[in-house]
């Protein structure tokens, strides 16, 4: 269910012609023990010129806090239509987020980048924690985040 909805949202954003050209991708985010309440995470994609393309996942259910995911908020204006059906719970300190999507083949090796913005209540907000190019060769490689994210991996 998760993956289907995620693919739909991306489909509308990217106008990919048909799901036949898609593949399942699992993204895993592990958090540090930063010692605060649950972190809000926004996973989204930009194109080669750095323009926002679409959101993959929003961890955190209350839209009042989305402004603290500042890059994502800047790109989307905080529009909840960007995350309809692809929203989950916030991720606790030291916890893990794992989501699987049907991602269009055309997203890979084409200059697209996955970004994660993070924010924690009463702690410093951390936009662009992770920025990883979507490449077939980069799958399985773990990237450290700046403050809250211990490691980010996508695998196909």
């Amino acid at each position: 269910m998760k993956s289907l909805l995620a693919s739909l949202a991306l489909t509308t954003a990217l106008t990919v012609p048909g799901l036949a050209l898609a593949r399942p991708v699992t993204m895993t985010v592990n958090l540090n023990n930063y010692g605060g309440p649950g972190a809000y995470l926004a996973l989204y994609v930009t194109n080669s010129s750095g323009a926002y393309v679409g959101t993959l996942w929003m961890a955190g259910g209350r839209s009042r806090y989305y402004q603290h995911l500042s890059d994502w908020y800047r790109a989307t204006g905080g529009s909840t239509s960007q995350i309809n059906g692809i929203t989950g719970a916030s991720v606790g300190s030291g916890g893990q987020l794992q989501v699987t999507f049907e991602l269009a083949d055309t997203l890979f090796d084409a200059g697209y980048t996955v970004h994660i913005d993070a924010a924690v209540e009463n702690m410093r907000e951390s936009p662009n924690e992770v920025a990883v190019p979507l490449t077939t060769s980069g799958a399985g490689t773990t990237t450290r985040g700046r403050r809250y994210i211990a490691g980010f991996t996508y695998s196909m």
């Binding site: 010692g35 605060g36 309440p37 209350r62 839209s63 009042r64 402004q67 500042s70 908020y73 800047r74 204006g77 905080g78 009463n122 702690m123 410093r124 907000e125 662009n128 700046r146 403050r147």
Partner: protein, 735 residues
């Protein structure tokens, strides 16, 4: 009805409220501690200077935040590693760790969501709502009890648990109401029911493209004092399209990183402003002193819970089930009860049983359910009315007077009114009197005249029962037995006899303290702790109705002493005055907190006659701190009934007793205590003006005579005994 709105939310929410208030009380300390611990910015410091200092110390600075307590925190990157610290604004250097306090975070999570996520947040909000209902219904109850809001801080009398409950709540209710209202607002805000999310200004599309403005030169930062700063976020290194983000008490905006110009700005909305104020009021963040005060008030809740449960249990225990209650439509005798705490129901049950045994059909119900048109067979209506506060109707008699005023009582129905009360209150049986007055005004036939029962006295009740029986042509013996505490056997140690020559044989009886069990010691039950002026309930042999005597000793004295006059035909006094050392009698202790001298150094005026000297002598004996005590003692003849005549000179010498004034009634010039008071009018009035406390013990006639005399003496000073009673400075123990 209000009582039900107070009781049920309280019992249901007790565990939840304990969790919320205890965690809240501890949390209230953190903002104050943070305020004290964190270095504060000097008043003239601007954000420009502060940011410049911090950037000099930490070139990789990404964000500067100021918490409502004034604590400044900086977050930076140094060679790829994030760092953070609490900053001393004077130097821009880190002085302490900026990591959140784990205990505070744990408690916050417990306090707002019980670690149960959104469901827990809703449960906490329900707790807050229950607290608010309790506060509102509690204010209504206290206001009713003290006779209106203007008497909010009036001294209280009555059982200890009730007094503690009201004393705490009338101070804490303000804080508890504030904390619960703000909690509900914050929950509504969290669940996005309140439009208090700020409008972020649109991110600027056009920037100068330059970087590296000197922070100290940025105009808006120069104009912003540190006290208004919330956060300043720096642009990403190497991204010339990025900007500074500034949040202040006024709003949010973006600054160009090359020129320092304000590129976009939006002010705080009204809703945001309200929500932030409410957040401050609830958490004390930014208002540390208020936070600590609210925390202390929250600490009252556990005590309120315990005393509240005690009051509830006492009320339940006091109300018996009435077996074989006839319906209102069929009964010949309608007994209606106006009771606050439930004790009057016990008397109603006794009356019901006795009348039913005498062949009557009796219905017992609350006075608030008075509906005379349903009483098809009623020949008489008996009203048992307690009084609440300043002569108000008690809980189960709410609205009775209004109903009676408009009701049509069948002609020929006889009505009797019996008041229940406590003579130490200024408005003794005032509600019963109001009822009797209206009954008379309605033109109802009087079955027997208004009578009263003082402090649940079974004797008063039995006396009234005989009068009622006579009027109904029945032989009615009302042996009311309140649920009695466990009795103990007391052994007489010594006796001193007085008064035989003046036809008032009296004995000062001294009993040994019974051995107390561990349980009694722990629970303070039995004769473990008592003061002079407390009551001892004596059960005479062959009778189950206790007689009460005032104690002339305290537990600290190590013995139990009472002064007993032998009444002609008196069952209990005859048995007591016949005791010889080594004999035993059966008794229990009843606390009488309304009749205590209290702490403090204000003078005491003790007035007593006959055996009424007992508790007063006990107070003098216990006066080790030599508080000024003036004792007015009325007796028949000093050679015969001068009780404690051996001790009095010793007490005077020790300083326990400042002055003794005696009034002798069996001489050529008879004098009573009233006359002695009048003789000392000037000094007595002066003492009372200076705050002296008056305690009267003795017969009813003597007490009313004393009150009249004091009214005369005090009139020039503009004082009345009623005013002193209302202040709790004039107490009586009469029989």
């Amino acid at each position: 009805m209000i009582r039900a709105f107070h009781r049920w939310p309280a019992l249901l929410a007790l565990a939840l409220l304990l969790t919320l208030t205890l965690s809240g009380a501890i949390l209230s300390v953190f903002p104050a501690a943070e305020r004290i611990a964190s270095p504060q910015a000097s008043s003239g410091l601007t954000v420009a200077t502060l940011a410049d200092r911090i950037q000099t110390a930490y070139p990789g600075v990404e964000q500067i935040r100021r918490s409502p307590s004034g604590q400044i925190m900086a977050y930076w990157f140094d060679q790829g590693t994030p760092g953070s610290a609490v900053i001393d604004p004077a130097t821009g250097l880190g002085v302490a760790s900026a990591d959140p306090n784990m205990i505070e975070r744990w408690l916050t999570e417990l306090h707002r969501s019980l670690f149960l996520g959104d469901g827990g947040r809703i449960a906490s909000a329900v707790g807050a709502a229950a607290m608010l209902i309790l506060a509102i219904s509690g204010v209504a109850l206290v206001s009713r009890r003290v006779g209106g809001m203007r008497n909010w801080f009036k001294p209280l009398r009555g059982p200890l648990s009730g007094r503690i409950h009201v004393e705490i709540s009338r101070i804490a209710v303000v804080g508890l109401a504030l904390s619960s209202v703000t909690a509900l607002w914050m929950t509504a805000s969290t669940f996005e029911l309140i439009p208090d999310v700020g409008n972020m200004p649109a991110f600027p599309a056009d920037v100068s493209g330059e970087t590296g403005v000197a922070l100290a030169q940025v105009a808006v930062l120069q104009q912003t004092p540190v006290s208004e700063l919330r956060s300043l976020s720096f642009p990403y290194a190497g991204d010339s399209t990025d900007v500074f983000s500034l949040q202040t008490d006024l709003g949010t905006g973006y600054l160009d990183q090359g020129t320092g110009d304000v590129l976009a700005w939006s002010d705080l909305t009204g809703w945001q402003y309200v929500s932030e104020t409410i957040y401050m009021l609830h958490t004390g963040q930014g208002a540390a002193t208020l936070g600590v005060v609210l925390g202390l008030m929250a600490l009252g809740v556990p005590l309120l819970g315990v005393t509240g449960v005690l009051i509830w249990v006492a009320g339940r225990r006091g109300r018996p089930r009435i077996r074989g209650n006839q319906s209102a439509g069929r009964a010949e005798t309608i007994v209606l009860v106006g009771s606050e705490s439930g004790s009057t129901w016990g008397f109603a049950a006794t009356l019901h049983t006795a009348l039913t045994q005498a062949g009557q059909s009796v219905h017992v119900g609350p006075m608030s359910g008075f509906t005379p048109k349903r009483y098809h067979h009623a020949e008489r209506i008996i009203l048992l009315a307690a009084t609440y506060g300043d002569g108000d109707a008690p809980a189960s008699a709410k609205g009775f007077l209004d109903r009676l005023a408009t009701a049509e009582v069948a002609p020929g129905t006889q009505v009797a009114v019996l008041g229940f009360g406590d003579r130490s209150f200024p408005d003794y049986c005032a509600f019963a009197e109001a009822v009797a007055k209206m009954v008379k005004a309605k033109g109802c036939a009087e079955l027997i005249p208004l009578d009263t029962v003082d402090r649940q006295s079974p004797q008063d009740f039995a006396r009234w029962g005989r009068a009622l029986g006579q009027a109904m042509g029945l032989d009615l013996e009302l042996a009311h037995q309140p649920v009695l505490p466990k009795t103990e056997a007391l052994t007489l140690v010594s006796r001193r006899d007085y008064g035989a020559e003046v036809q008032a044989p009296t004995a000062i009886l001294r009993f040994a303290m019974p051995r107390a069990s561990l349980w009694q010691r722990l629970m303070g039950r039995g004769f473990v702790r008592f003061s002079a002026g407390d009551l001892i309930g004596v059960l005479p042999e062959g009778n189950a109705v206790p007689r009460y005597y005032s104690l002339a000793s305290a537990s600290r004295d190590g013995f139990i002493e009472i002064v007993v006059k032998k009444h002609v035909g008196g069952l209990c006094s005859s048995q007591l005055t016949a005791l010889e050392p080594g004999d035993t009698m059966t008794a229990f202790l009843r606390s009488n907190p309304g009749f205590r001298p209290g702490r403090g150094r204000t003078p005491l005026i003790l007035i007593g006659a006959g055996t009424g000297i007992g508790p007063l002598a006990g107070f003098v004996r216990a006066n080790a701190r030599n508080r000024p005590v003036h004792l007015f003692f009325g007796m028949r003849h000093p050679d015969s009934d001068f009780f404690y005549s051996d001790e009095m000179p010793v007490w005077q010498e020790q300083g326990h007793l400042s002055r003794l004034v005696t009034a002798i009634s069996r001489t050529s010039q008879p004098k009573y205590v009233q006359d002695a008071l009048r003789g000392d009018a000037t000094e007595v009035a002066q003492l009372i003006r200076d705050g002296a406390r008056i305690m009267v013990c003795g017969g009813r006639d003597m007490a009313s005579g004393v009150a009249d005399t004091l009214a005369e003496i005090l009139a020039p000073a503009g004082l009345t005994p009623a005013m002193l009673k209302a202040e709790g400075r004039y107490v009586e123990d009469v029989y």
